[in-house]
Subunit: 206 residues, 2 copies
DNA sequence: ACATTGAGCGTACACGTGTTAGCTAAAATA
DNA sequence: TATTTTAGCTAACACGTGTACGCTCAATGT
């Protein structure tokens, strides 16, 4: 059980995933991804594909996992920056935009499949986004003493804005992306102010 | 020049567009839309397709136009409801959600291609969304006396939130969609409050 | 040492695709 | 009325696709 066999299998599995990611970057999206081309780029015979995935859909779900994982790791990294001082909002948005810039095809896949045609895909992506939102909610409740309900409203709004801006950032060049980032930061701050105002409103009534 | 010929051509052109829309609703997205299947559903020979469109892409752009137009008309209708009393926010969001529910495949196409792979498509969709945002900005400036800058920030945030919620509404059943609608209305109001707070902030400083 | 497993390969098949070329017949034009 | 235009057709093409089948041969298990 030295695993030299399993190692090799995992290796070509990665080759397949990376091949698929490369092809995504090019021109066509996941929907027009071909088993044969992926296999060709991975350097294996078309039929060998089935040793690793049952479908192209299964490959796709792996890609979504991959993307979600990468994004979460990045955001965890961003939270470390917050710990040692600096604006939470600025740091998070900046990190997010950097992810979009560096992992464009992966992020595009997430966006595409978020409103794509396969329900399985949509659920998978939504799971990733929900995970992200939940962490933000926890932060708002723990650090800013928001009620769970208001925190959820706020976090959801923020995530929607940031992801949507991220989508626009895909096409943007560097200066434009910077402008977009500042724009987004201002919007998130606006939402925060709105949430605060809403909270005060509730208190006054009571 | 009675136009009986042009009439017929326009008619089968519409048949093609509607066929394409039907196929979108089914299961596969625009990317996996086939000329032959579309032609078959429209009841013409595959080769006759070229009498109406040069590419599938050209058909796709027509679909985007179609969707954008439908959405804008609906929102114009919604603004009439506002004129004869009632909350602007509630009325707009409700109308929007109704559109998503009734024209699901069309709205899905818009979302898909917004973050799709063809730049031409993305630009076309973005144009529609921008149009929508611009009208909201005008409203905020004219009716609520916001500065152009703040109005743009606010309108953009609102549009992002609403479109994103619309995407989620696609999968939702009726009660869930209603919940989502209320949720979105609350978020938009929160943003409005935030914008107002931001405006007050600016006045105080000056 | 021997038997079993399994990743990867080559061949082959049936099928759907986009697109070209040339025809027909009805509408438009002169 | 005679001529031109053109929407739609059929036939045919070359090609890429997903997948079934059976083989090899090195890594594993006994």
């Amino acid at each position: 059980m030295s695993g030299i066999r399993a190692k090799q299998k995992e290796k070509t599995r990665r080759l397949l995933i990376e091949a698929a990611m490369n092809q995504l970057s090019a021109e066509h999206g996941y929907a027009s991804l071909s088993l044969r081309e992926v296999a060709r780029e991975a350097g294996i015979a078309p039929t060998s594909f089935y040793r690793h995935f049952q479908n192209m859909e299964e490959l796709g779900l792996s890609l979504v996992d991959e993307g979600g994982l990468a994004l979460r790791q990045l955001l965890r990294q961003s939270r470390l920056q917050i710990a040692r001082g600096g604006s939470i909002i600025r740091s998070s948005v900046t990190t997010f935009m950097a992810f979009v810039a560096n992992q464009t095809p992966l992020f595009r896949l997430l966006l595409q499949e978020k409103s794509g045609n396969s329900r399985a895909f949509r659920l998978a992506v939504q799971r990733e986004v929900d995970h992200f939102t939940a962490e933000l909610v926890d932060y708002l409740v723990a650090e800013q003493q928001y009620s769970r309900e208001l925190a959820e409203l706020q976090a959801d709004a923020i995530v929607r804005i940031v992801f949507s801006a991220g989508a626009d950032a895909i096409d943007a060049d560097n200066p434009e992306r910077e402008r977009l980032t500042e724009h987004t930061i201002a919007q998130v701050r606006m939402v925060a102010r709105g949430a605060d105002a809403t909270r005060q409103l509730g208190k006054t009534i009571k």
